[in-house]
């Protein structure tokens, strides 16, 4: 077994697996399912190995194994994630689920805190500020469209309504008009996103065909 043989086998395996996936165009079949399950198995193993090799082992080495004896704090800090990980593992046990929630609580709390700070500082504050400052950088028409588009798009998702005479909740007319304009901007945005998805998928398909074609040429061309 040489390396070229390994590459050859890998190439043929990739071609076969690609064709098995493309068979889904016709209909769902067992070949497609086999390929998907192979992907699941390899991905699970790959991720697990990467995490253990790239995160857990270095962490344990850095905080517990290689720590000095006077660095008790570092040792404790190094052990805590392991304990929390064990608690998370206990969540699969019905009786100890409540104990495992302690680890989940820590994850949720830290995630919420980080997300809130980042969203408020960047997505809300910076983007809104930039939206306002972009008016200066653009001509009047573009600036108007930018401001109106941003506001109407945001207001489209507002569901403030009043109860009409027949008891049905309805938006006030001004809000309906604003939502109508926002709906147009959303349609344009989604259209651009859809076109981008088409471009990406075409690019990926072209890349697959190119790689497999090159492999075939290599095999057939001698």
């Amino acid at each position: 077994m040489t390396l070229e043989n390994v590459d050859l086998i890998a190439g043929w395996a990739a071609l076969v697996l690609t064709l098995m996936i493309f068979s889904y165009v016709l209909a769902d079949n067992f070949l497609y399912r086999i390929a998907v399950h192979i992907l699941i198995g390899t991905a699970a193993a790959t991720v697990a190995i990467t995490i253990i090799e790239g995160v857990i082992i270095p962490w344990v080495n850095r905080t517990v194994v290689e720590a000095d004896t006077d660095e008790a704090g570092a040792i404790i800090v190094g052990i805590i994630p392991l304990i929390l990980g064990l608690l998370l593992f206990l969540k699969s046990n019905g009786l100890l689920t409540s104990i495992g929630n302690i680890g989940s609580a820590l994850l949720i709390g830290a995630g919420v805190g980080v997300a809130l700070v980042g969203v408020v500082s960047v997505t809300l504050f910076a983007v809104i500020t930039e939206a306002g400052e972009s008016v200066n950088d653009s001509n009047a028409l573009d600036a108007t469209i930018l401001i109106v588009g941003t506001i109407t798009t945001l207001l489209y998702f507002q569901y403030i309504s009043l109860r009409s005479r027949d008891g049905m909740p309805r938006r006030p007319l001004p809000l309906q008009l604003v939502a109508l304009v926002g709906e147009g901007f959303i349609a344009v945005t989604f259209g651009a996103l859809y076109a981008g998805a088409i471009l990406t998928s075409l690019t990926v398909f072209g890349g697959v065909v190119q790689d497999q074609l090159i492999f075939l040429l290599e095999q057939l061309g001698g």
Binding site: L39, G113, V117, L154
Partner: protein, 217 residues
């Protein structure tokens, strides 16, 4: 037991709220403060814990497939294939790490080739399938509903695609550029602000204990 279950949920909720508050205050504080230091430690611990959580998820996945294989439930063949694939990849990685290859493969690492041959090819093929469904979907777009938003949607798609082509006439390119930098940008900002507001609301719900993830076992 019923009372204990409630106590555990209450304790978890309280821990989540305290952690979130500590992180928020620490991130907004100067780095030299003790609160900031505490939050930094918490963040580091949590990041490692998240990695371990991924391992727990993978363990659950394996256990389910093993269980299905042992009980020979419906689809056990696919579970067998999954487990064999995982074992094979693990074996290759182990042999790479332990330099167990012999012959001409000695010192070589086969795991990247396995990764390329299996994962990249399969996932790329899956991504390439999307183009057929996207094309058929836009062909049938007006079958059900014929509204002005659908027309506007199709016009935007056409402009972006035509503007992408390297035509000699730059009018379409300019039009696409204007479309991307003005109306699409306005819509994107509105959407992102809405996403941000939603994230804030979800975070507040977690801070105030309304999150059901910790209240239910």
């Amino acid at each position: 037991m019923r009372g204990g279950l409630h106590l555990g949920s209450a304790l978890a909720t309280a821990l989540a709220i305290v952690t979130a508050a500590l992180v928020i205050v620490g991130l907004l504080s100067a780095e030299s403060t003790e609160v900031a230091a505490g939050s930094d430690i918490v963040l580091q611990i949590v990041s490692i814990t998240i990695a371990l959580a991924v391992l727990v998820g993978i363990w659950n996945l394996i256990s389910v497939h093993v269980g299905r294989l042992i009980r020979t439930r419906k689809g056990w063949i696919y579970s067998l294939i999954t487990l064999l694939s995982a074992v094979a990849v693990t074996a290759v990685y182990v042999m790479d790490e332990t330099a167990s290859w012999t012959g001409e493969l000695e010192g070589e690492k086969l795991s990247p080739r396995v990764f390329e041959a299996v994962q990249v090819s399969i996932e790329s093929a899956l991504a390439g399938l999307i183009v057929f469904f996207l094309t058929y979907a836009i062909y049938r777009l007006l079958y059900k509903r014929f509204t002005w938003t659908s027309i506007l949607f199709m016009v935007a798609v056409a402009i972006v695609l035509l503007g992408w082509l390297p035509l000699e006439d730059d009018s379409l390119v300019d039009l696409r550029e204007w479309l991307m930098t003005v109306p699409v940008l306005a819509g994107s900002r509105g959407l992102l602000i809405g996403i941000g507001l939603g994230t804030v609301i979800v975070g507040i719900r977690a801070l105030t204990g309304y999150d059901r993830a910790l209240r239910e076992p």
